[in-house]
């Protein structure tokens, strides 16, 4: 039975976190009112790409980073759905969570699941403090959407793993302490066989990181070169040769979160505020349509998160959230521009947010799997591939 049949039908998976969720929201909102840096409003858009080390550290000290990690490694031992609530609040508030984002979302949980005891003790406490940042080494010049074409090699030697090759489009490599890389550990292996995950300290000799400046003028992603880089045997994460399976599981964490529909939330809030309590008909209709879409996406995202938390693997549902969410957050600035009057260099909050999101939005349906790859996964769930 294909994945679609399991998810189709009447019900949403119940989103039922333990504890008092209203109190959790209230505490976090109160904390943010005091601790969220009063930066320019443009920084609130796409805020999970916004780096602020001080904020990440403060957030960690307050117990909002590494929430689901075990207490013995500095985590909070909280339920994944409690973390979900915290994440959606942070994103809706436009908090600058970019520094610790990847470590908190996927590297920490992956180390808990597949990592060795040594790796857990070494990395998890720093992640939970909001001080240790991670990046994901997947894409290569010849392996973008076709991830199984990865060629960066790691050969096992007496001293450890010797790595040669290149990663590209690596978000945050320039400020990260570690990279979780997908590399080819079996010489002569093809496609998704013979791949493994290595946890690499980025200050290891032989690693060169070069910036790639994006069309918004930001430095988010990088090229990372490995020239005879030697890492210890203990850098292997999980099972040798199982890298593909481990990465696939990790992508489920990456694709269905609230960040897939809240990147443009600051613009919706600004549009509502600019229009006032008695908006014209065009603005009212657009706000209504965007609200309906956001409400629906939130239901789907929560249902998928609940399924993930229950130990299921909602690969197809996660892809539905990403596809619809990306379309929504990408469409929003275009539709706002279509009805809001103002010059390109409009200095108002709404104008600047709009411009920033119009320019940033092409990346929304590229990062974390392109639209075409995501639709291919859904088509597989429908039994077509």
């Amino acid at each position: 039975m294909h994945g679609w049949a399991d998810m189709q039908g009447f019900a949403l998976y119940p989103f039922d976190p333990p504890g008092d969720i209203g109190a959790l929201r209230a505490e976090l909102r109160a904390w943010l009112a005091v601790n969220q840096p009063q930066r320019d409003i443009v920084a609130r858009a796409n805020c999970w790409a916004s780096f602020d080390a001080d904020f990440s550290r403060a957030l960690g000290a307050a117990g909002y980073v590494g929430m689901t990690l075990p207490i013995r490694y500095g985590g909070g031992d909280r339920h994944p759905l409690e973390r979900y609530v915290v994440i959606e609040e942070l994103l809706a508030a436009g908090a600058p969570v970019g520094a610790h984002w990847i470590a908190d979302r996927q590297t920490g949980p992956l180390i808990v699941r597949y990592g060795s005891e040594e790796q857990r003790e070494r990395y998890l406490p720093g992640i939970a403090r909001g001080e240790l940042y991670a990046c994901i080494g997947l894409s290569e010049p010849g392996a973008g959407s076709d991830l199984a074409a990865v060629r960066t090699s790691a050969r096992e030697t007496a001293e450890g793993w010797r790595i040669n090759g290149q990663k590209i489009w690596t978000t945050g490599a320039h400020f990260s302490h570690i990279m979780l890389a997908l590399v080819r550990t079996e010489e002569g292996s093809e496609r998704n066989a013979g791949l493994s995950q290595l946890l690499i300290d980025l200050d290891t000799p032989g690693i060169t990181i070069r910036p790639i400046i994006d069309m918004a003028g930001h430095h988010d992603f990088n090229e990372v070169f490995f020239d005879d880089v030697l890492v210890p045997h203990g850098a292997l994460v999980g099972t040798r040769g199982q890298g593909w399976q481990q990465v696939t599981a990790e992508l489920g964490l990456e694709r269905s979160g609230p960040e897939r529909y809240l990147s443009s939330h600051a613009l919706l809030a600004a549009l509502i505020d600019a229009a006032g309590a008695d908006p014209g008909p065009a603005v009212a209709v657009l706000v209504g349509e965007l609200t309906a879409e956001m409400w629906t996406l939130r239901q789907l995202s929560m249902s998928t998160a609940a399924k993930l938390a229950a130990g299921e693997d909602p690969m197809v549902e996660a892809s539905v959230v990403k596809e619809l969410g990306n379309a929504f957050e990408q469409d929003m600035p275009r539709r706002v521009q279509a009805i809001v009057d103002g010059p390109w260099d409009d200095p108002s909050d709404l104008g600047r947010l709009l411009r920033a999101l119009l320019i940033a939005s092409p990346s929304f349906s590229l990062r974390g799997g392109t639209r075409e790859v995501i639709r291919g996964i859904i088509a597989r769930g429908l039994g077509l591939r």
């Binding site: 998810m7 603005v283 009212a284 409400w295 619809l324 639709r375 591939r385």
Partner: protein, 231 residues
């Protein structure tokens, strides 16, 4: 799904299949009008999740019969229509998957072509969104004792979302079916024509969008998030 609801669905399938040719009489005999009536008053004591499940089946098998009207008050007909639409869209998707998996052209099933796969993925996302909207609206209605005023936000959002999916779903379903889907004989029109009708009934896009938009404007930019998470 609970065992009781699964039984209810089985009954609905059987009764509606008969009603497809016999009209409302079997639906009335089976007592579906009493679905929401409390057991103490001689009814089934069902909730809106039951209504949602039953109407999704009705949307596929008896879209032309006033099943929803017989079960719920007028004020809740927009919500009932969302369920009918979710059912009909699920059927349009199922028919489309079946067609592209069996119909061969250029020596292979249509579903093996990436262009067709990508179209059906888009359609599946819309169908899933409407199912989610119907389910979330049901949860809200049950939480507020079926008070339409207390579920005004969710009713507006769900009906609007369902309306907006109609164009995409009917267009892709017909496109991947080719000429056969345009015949009176083939089943597809029995869900796509009702979908076109339901989009305009009990509030079209413009009606719900303006209503929801004005409601949200009153909340303010941050207020929207607060309201959404408080419900």
């Amino acid at each position: 799904m609970s065992a009781a609801r699964a039984m209810l669905c089985d009954t609905a399938r059987a009764v509606f299949a008969e009603a497809a040719t016999a009209g409302m009489a079997p639906v009335e005999e089976a007592g579906f009008a009493l679905l929401l009536v409390p057991e103490a008053e001689g009814g089934f004591g069902g909730d809106w999740e039951d209504v949602n499940a039953v109407l999704q089946i009705a949307g596929v098998t008896v879209p032309g019969l006033p099943v929803a009207e017989s079960m719920v008050s007028d004020a809740l007909l927009p919500a009932a229509t969302v369920s009918l639409m979710a059912g009909a869209m699920g059927q349009a998707l199922a028919l489309s998957i079946e067609h592209v998996s069996t119909r061969q052209q250029f020596g292979r099933p249509l579903g093996k072509f990436q262009a067709v796969q990508q179209s059906l993925a888009v359609m599946a996302c819309e169908v899933r969104a409407v199912e989610a909207a119907a389910a979330a609206l049901a949860a809200r209605l049950d939480a507020v004792g079926l008070d339409p005023a207390a579920a005004d936000f969710e009713m507006a959002a769900a009906k609007l979302r369902a309306n907006r999916a109609v164009g995409v779903v009917t267009a892709i379903a017909h496109q991947v079916h080719g000429a056969i889907g345009f015949t009176r004989e083939y089943d597809l029109n029995r869900v796509t024509i009702p979908l076109m009708r339901w989009r305009g009934e009990h509030g079209n896009d413009a009606y719900w969008a303006a209503r929801l938009g004005r409601q949200v404007a009153g909340l303010g930019g941050q207020g929207l998030w607060g309201a959404m998470t408080a419900r």
